[in-house]
């Protein structure tokens, strides 16, 4: 068993740590990270207020109204974790990232290098703290599950004592809530008690998935031994003409490459459980990281990890140049069940590359792509997003938006305008939504024209509940040879568009 010993390095509350680092949130405020409505991580201060994992947001906020919450963002977690992973790697080569906040490494290397596991643990924790300021705990045991639990309580489990170490731990350490509830009612409150139940009895009483938990409780490795070393030709690589320096470009590259790797594996009925990511920069820096997963990775799972990893590397200060080549190598594979289909087809790639090229020249904001948005005015109804960003409208354009204009001006504008009545007084709009007088002349961009006809006013009182309220009234105005859209806000008229 000795060669399977693993050393796990665990950073407590990592999603909270990452969110606080990203936002500059201090340690004294109660913080929780949420996935949807459920709390996935809390700060120590929040725990002191009674906030717990798996609690619903609603309950947590009613217990602690001052709770600061963040949406769970694995990419953020990964980005801030990369320096930690690097720090570990400096002392213990061959690390594998299990998830942001948790890395594992075969224990043999560091233990013999530092002469004892205790020494190794101490050095690693110190080194992480010096390099990154992050707090970490170390555990050593014979399986990843056990090593992780050992890290939670900062202990080195002696060789072959893993099952013994796990015995007194509560069954709630298993990530299977319904099974845990039933085990407790049966009086099987510890992992040891659960482990003592014969395997066939477990299978017949609780069903198949419970046997995996049973293995974990016994300190056995989580996967049975059908895993294998994959052939080297399964790896995929891509060399970029324009070195990848920006995260959005990296995300694109990650998707294309992940797709190819997945195809390779799927064609042979395989799925990846450990993924190696290699990158070489223009200045020939070599970057390498292995990600370890509990379950076979889906295409999306691969793409996520590649994106997180590239994000981590690209935001790192030490990188002196862009990434020239990227290689994905399956380090460990299992027989793949029917995982999902590919990410996309290869059409439109020509246009995509051209636009990415222009972004390379002008910056990400240089190429915009319109999304039809919800709203009433011609400007609100179009949202321009940098090419490559997600094209999601800010407001649902399929809603009816009563009162929106039926025709939009082909040219938009934002110039002050003066609209007057026959007596030369400015035309206004009353609180009961009527014009104060008939408009007779329009002055805009230094030119005064006779108003031959007009329509409106069409008042809007939108988003009054939000920080960006919009209260205005629009009219259309015709002059002898042109048509305009005017808008009145803050007691002044503006030209909003020209119907040319």
């Amino acid at each position: 068993m000795k060669d399977t010993r693993l050393l796990a390095i665990w950073c407590p509350d990592w999603p909270v740590v990452a969110a606080c680092t990203a936002t500059g949130t201090g340690q004294h405020v109660p913080v929780a990270v949420l996935d949807g409505n459920e709390i996935v991580s809390t700060s120590a201060v929040a725990r002191a207020e009674g906030i717990r994992r798996a609690m619903r947001k609603r309950l947590a906020e009613s217990m602690c109204p001052e709770l600061v919450t963040f949406e769970h963002d694995p990419q953020r977690d990964a980005r801030f974790f990369e320096p930690v992973a690097e720090a570990v790697e400096e002392l213990a080569p061959g690390i594998e990232v299990v998830q942001p906040g948790l890395v594992a490494v075969p224990a043999q290397g560091p233990v013999s290098y530092f002469s004892s596991a205790e020494q190794a643990a101490e050095r690693i924790v110190d080194h992480i703290a010096t390099r990154t300021g992050a707090e970490a705990q170390v555990g050593v045991a014979d399986s990843l599950f056990a090593a992780t639990k050992a890290a939670h309580c900062n202990v080195i489990v002696p060789p072959s004592r893993t099952a013994e170490f796990l015995r007194p731990l509560g069954v709630h350490e298993l990530d299977a809530p319904e099974l845990v509830d039933l085990l407790r009612r049966l009086g099987l409150k510890t992992l040891g008690a659960f482990a003592d139940v014969p395997e066939n009895a477990v299978a017949s009483r609780f069903g198949g998935p419970a046997t995996r938990q049973h293995r974990l409780a016994r300190g056995l490795p989580e996967r049975p031994l059908d895993k294998r070393k994959p052939a080297p030709e399964l790896a995929v690589a891509e060399t970029f003409d324009d070195p990848v320096e920006r995260i959005d470009a990296a995300a694109f590259a990650a998707k294309i490459l992940s797709e190819r790797l997945h195809e390779n594996l799927a064609n042979r009925g395989l799925a990846c459980t450990r993924l190696g990511i290699h990158a070489r920069t223009e200045n020939d820096e070599e970057l390498h990281r292995v990600w370890r997963a509990a379950e076979p990775l889906t295409p999306r799972g691969i793409a996520d990890r590649v994106r997180w990893q590239l994000d981590g590397w690209l935001t790192r200060e030490r990188l002196t140049s862009g990434i020239r080549t990227l290689t994905l190598e399956p380090v460990e594979v299992v027989n793949g069940t029917a995982l999902q289909l590919g990410l996309w087809g290869h059409d439109d790639e020509r246009a995509v590359r051209a636009l990415l090229h222009v972004q390379g020249l002008l910056g990400p904001d240089g190429v915009l792509t319109p999304v039809l948005d919800g709203g009433r005015g011609p400007k609100e109804r179009v949202k321009l997003v940098p090419w490559g960003d997600e094209r999601v409208p800010a407001r649902n354009p399929d809603h009816p938006w009563p009162g929106r204009l039926s025709r939009a001006p082909a040219t938009l504008a934002d110039d002050p305008a003066v609209l007057k009545d026959a007596d030369g007084n400015e035309v206004g709009v009353t609180g009961r939504l009527e014009l104060t007088a008939q408009p007779k002349s329009l002055a805009v961009k230094g030119r005064t024209q006779e108003v031959t006809a007009w329509a409106g006013p069409w008042p809007v009182d939108e988003r009054w509940w939000a920080p960006d309220p919009h209260r205005a009234a629009r009219i259309q105005v015709q002059t002898p040879d042109q048509a305009f859209l005017l808008i009145r806000r803050d007691q002044r008229w503006f030209l909003e568009g020209v119907y040319d």
């Binding site: 990410l343 087809g345 321009l384 119907y499």
Partner: protein, 247 residues
């Protein structure tokens, strides 16, 4: 596929569904990109020939209308140097804006930007003034890359020139009606076979509705119509006197 994966595809302007399969072959192999009905009469090829340069003047609506047919058919279009362009108007004129890219400010040296676009985009509309030499080089690039270059404003070497002579809308009424229907009077000219001038009146928007809509008489009244207009006061006065007043 997970929802977020689909969303990220959409981020790159890719639609998974039938749209792709139905359009790919046409627009990659077709030599002439389609345009809307009356516009076809103005263009010597009945559409926009790949590799050609067309100049447009006098109406933004006209420029946008030219992009409608091709983008709806699966082609990509880019508009360079026109930050005030009304994208919503473009959509109303039939442009598929999910295949529209905007480069509002191509910078001090727009040449490489436009050239890069011509490499991969089917229609590139350019609205920024360029030195004639650069304009000619871009025309050549368009020809080489089989893209259509549309110049908004004058262009030294356009194959076709389209000029809007007037833009008119339905008349508004004081305080009522809305702008609904647009008429653009367009003249075309240009080199070679396109050189013969033509006039076309383009209309965009809704038609007028005529009443009666239904032949025949409405059903005869089987009950008396209620009291006539002069009776309000009378009625009210009567009620005022008969009404029991609360104490």
């Amino acid at each position: 596929m997970s929802r977020s994966a689909t969303a990220s595809l959409a981020a790159f302007g890719v639609n998974r569904a039938s749209e792709l399969t139905s359009t790919t072959t046409d627009h990659t192999t077709g030599r002439v990109l389609p345009v809307r009905g009356e516009l076809a009469d103005l263009l010597p090829w009945g559409g926009l020939r790949r590799g050609s340069t067309v100049s447009v003047g006098g109406s933004t609506s006209l420029l946008l209308a030219l992009l409608a047919g091709a983008t709806a058919d699966g082609c990509w279009a880019a508009v360079v140097g026109l930050p005030q362009v009304g994208v919503l108007a473009a959509a109303e004129l039939g442009v598929s804006v999910q295949r529209l890219a905007l480069v509002p400010r191509p910078g001090a040296d727009p040449g490489p930007v436009i050239a890069a676009l011509l490499d991969g985009i089917d229609l590139v509309a350019v609205a920024c003034p360029l030195p004639p030499s650069l304009a000619r080089r871009l025309t050549a690039r368009a020809r080489q890359r089989r893209a259509v270059l549309i110049a908004f404003g004058s262009w030294p070497s356009a194959d076709v020139e389209l000029t809007a002579e007037s833009v008119r809308w339905n008349p508004l009424d004081d305080g009522a009606e809305t702008l609904r229907r647009q008429e653009i009077s367009v003249r075309s000219g240009g080199r070679g076979s396109a050189g013969k001038p033509k006039h076309v009146l383009l209309t965009f928007g809704e038609e007028e509705i005529e009443l009666p809509l239904v032949a025949g008489e409405p059903a005869e009244s089987d009950e008396p119509v209620d009291a006539g207009p002069d009776e309000v006061d009378e009625l009210a006065a009567k009620r005022a006197t008969t009404r029991d007043r609360p104490a």
